[in-house]
Amino acid sequence: MTNSVNEILDEDLLFVIGSNTTEAHPVIGIKMKQAVRHGTKLIVIDPRRTELAAMADLWLPLRSGTDIPLINGLMHIIVKEGLQDEAYIRERCEGYEELLKTIEAYTPERVASLTGIPVEKLQEAARLYATTKKAGIFYTLGITEHICGTDNVKSLANLALLTGHVGFPNAGINPLRGQNNVQGACDMAALPTDLPGYKKVANPEHRAFFEELWGCSLSSDKGLMIPEMFDAALDGTLKAMYVMGEDPVMSDPNANHVKKAFEAMEFVVVQEIFMSETARFADVIFPATCYAEKDGTFTASERRVQRVRKAVEPPGEARVDWTIIARIAREMGAKGFDWTSSEEIFEEIRAAMPMYRGMTYERLGTTGLQWPCPTEDHPGTPYLHKDGFSIGKAKMTPIDHVEPAEPVCKDYPTLLITGRRLEHYNVMTRFSPTLDAIVPCEMAEMNPEDARELGLAEGDLARVTSRRGSVVTRVTVTDKVKPGSLFMTLHFKESPTNELTIDAYDPVTLTAEYKIAAVQVEKVKTDYDPSEIDRFVRLTELVEPQE
């Protein structure tokens, strides 16, 4: 996030796109609702009628995968009406002329036909955003989980720059990070292209710094991104994989492809707190600690580094993640893995990364600090780009529309959208009896029109099939989803949604298009008594397709 969570309360407009905030980031969601209650305007752009969409001043239920034409269309209107911030653009941006050429073609009428949003609503949204100074953009995976995810993000950057919304409090571009420490894992460079603190593997000077710090030579080879790893496993070049605290068999797209990749490898190590679906493919499983059993830090979306404190002992012989890795490294003869506490590691992180250098465990205390925080007397940084962009001028990038990888068709006529639900978080919350009691099973959301056509009622079972797999799920009938679309989550092993999703990727980030897949839905019949089903048994194994 360029800005901080609590700035939401004093914004005059929230521009929420591709984010079901009240379910995926509930506390940020309630802050948005509090702001709206006090008069803040709300624009929600989402194909589903989410809780925020239902209370929005303007809800634009766009056709899935048309974010780029929509944003280009808003910019077209802004420029046509002269609402752009010329002084800001002159002073702080480059690429404006090229951008103008591209958005010229996105007339309101064309955009309306591409997105399904009427011209008047486009105009209203464009005017509202362009003329409200305290206006922040908030987005999540509805923007990034497309084959054009990078371009979607760049389009939002174009919109914010065109109207001078970056570099001020209560504004900015705010990706709400999906996981507790995805920001931190990136900062630490659990990335194939980066070294800690966003230094680049490809840059010899950057490598030299870390070679000096760690006293060894470093590879300059380009590392593999997750989907490339699975492909490399299947073509035989990747022989082994070490998986710490991830469950790609449940969470990555086209799960059947992922399973084949794990089967193909010679040696798989999984470090986990539960027997995950991925762990079933392991040769060695190490029992790890959960957050309540270790010390350390997480970095939140607003770049705030905060303490995690050990509250209880780990179960059985489970050990803290880093101690397991460090022991294997020592066993392999590597030097520099001799820490005795998480704080010692943090000291090395500080030495490695100027953005964390001013932080100590003592300073973090109970309030944390927001990076960049370069010195021990630096107060941290609530919002970025205050006095200009670190790269000099911000680049505006002309972006054109791309169609989704897998449009619906005659055989697969239903659009599958995936996401999360309030009561669960990925897959591990299933092990919380309380949370699992609230929502014990997948309830695929289906529009009443479709349900009627397929003869499905609330709670009925349906088989959902894509070109890659087939799962069975219960159905909930709701007009939160449009006719012709189905919404499912990734939480439930009984209905593993990611066996359906498509492994079509954004070319830059290799993020998959989780938000759009073509499926067919049919009613299934079964004689089972739902209360007799063992948890975690695949529903496909219990039902027969209807005649």
Partner: protein, 354 residues
């Protein structure tokens, strides 16, 4: 900057910004004015009347929770007259409240009990008007006992103003008024987000977190930490039972920098997964298609040997690692260093972009 206003509270001089209520100004000089329905994050309700104070020059008593400070104001918070009034108010509230403190889950955290202790109110002199309403405990997270409700309305205001869900409200009139849901339905997922913020707000035992049932507050140690779910970065206190060494549940932390007392259903109620019997407890090695328990030494040595062999045979790029957005910075830093320094490649990634 708002204008500063000077006033005197119980003889102590205090300066606060214009627009401050008396109860907050008093807190600034260490004076806690008794209250049951006040919460600085909520609109004033002035229902319990416990915070009545005397203001010099005014015959009427005023509620400190809703009366704004004025320049030169002189406030008295603990006069004979106020103590007499407060005793009578507690007498009235107790007349409508079950006298089952011995077995009440709220013991030790009950604001009503605290005030009765402070003001020496042992029992009510009025005949009991406690209704006999059924418990609402059909949901997994909370028990609602409307018989214990003192009608302070904090839960209603939290749900309306902080959670902005409006799952509950007052119904009925006078002594028969209750806090209830639409159509008196039990708490359920379709209209309640189960954030549990109403439980935190409740000053008495009308709303109870089911996870804390059976644990006394003096058995608990609080450990401040950061939530392990989405990227918001909420902080809260893990409550550890000092006898069992297990996490009992979560309580909100007023001074949490991002979320304050606000939490969601996951953050507040997830902790029973920490001690799940399904946790992995021993290293496992696959042998003949089945997992068997192994010692740490064996599992570590096997892993180091196999990785070294594969690197020797197929080169450093034949091994890859998936790090974790759920683990700490320290874990991630060590993991990527392991890949780069011990395995000599850059094949490290995590679900950064999904």
């Amino acid at each position: 900057m708002p204008k500063l206003v000077k006033l005197i509270i119980d003889g102590k001089s205090v300066e606060v910004p214009e627009g401050t209520v008396i109860i907050e100004a008093a807190r600034k000089v260490g004076i806690e004015i008794p209250n049951l329905c006040y919460d600085k994050h909520l609109t004033a309700f002035s229902g319990c009347r416990m915070c009545l104070v005397e203001v010099e020059g005014s015959k009427k008593l005023v509620t400190a929770c809703s009366t704004l400070v004025r320049e030169g104001m002189s406030v008295k918070t603990r006069t004979e007259r106020l103590i007499r009034y407060r005793r009578e108010l507690l007498n009235l509230i107790l007349g409508n409240h079950p006298q089952d403190c011995l077995t009440c889950e709220k013991v030790g955290n009950c604001k009503l009990q605290e005030l009765c202790y402070e003001y020496g109110v042992k029992e009510s002199t009025y005949p009991s008007l406690v209704p006999n309403l059924p418990l609402d405990d059909a949901n997994p997270v909370m028990i609602r006992d409307q018989n214990k409700c003192i009608k302070c309305g904090k839960c209603v205001r939290v749900c309306r103003e902080i959670q902005v869900t409006n799952a509950i409200d007052f119904a009925g009139r006078g002594v028969e008024s209750t806090v209830t849901t639409a159509f008196d339905r039990p708490i359920a997922r379709d209209f309640c987000r189960m954030c549990g913020q109403c439980i935190t707000a409740c000053p008495v035992g009308a709303l109870t977190n089911k996870q804390f049932v059976g644990t006394r507050p003096w058995e608990l140690k609080k450990v401040r930490t950061t939530c392990p779910f989405c990227g918001t970065g909420c902080n809260f206190d893990l409550n550890v039972n000092i006898k069992t060494g297990h996490v009992v549940g979560v309580t909100a932390a007023e001074d949490a920098p991002i979320n304050g007392t606000q939490l969601c259903v996951k953050g507040r109620f997830h902790t029973d997964l920490i001690h799940s019997p399904d946790r992995l407890k021993h290293p496992l090695i696959r042998e003949n298609g089945k997992f068997r328990e192994a010692s740490w030494d064996e599992a570590i040595q096997l892993t180091a040997r196999r990785l070294s062999e594969i690197v020797a045979r197929h080169g450093p790029n034949s091994v890859a690692g998936l790090s974790s957005a759920r683990c700490t910075n320290e874990d991630n830093f060590v993991f990527q260093k392991f890949m780069r320094v011990a395995l000599k490649n850059n094949n490290v990634d995590h679900c950064a972009r999904t």
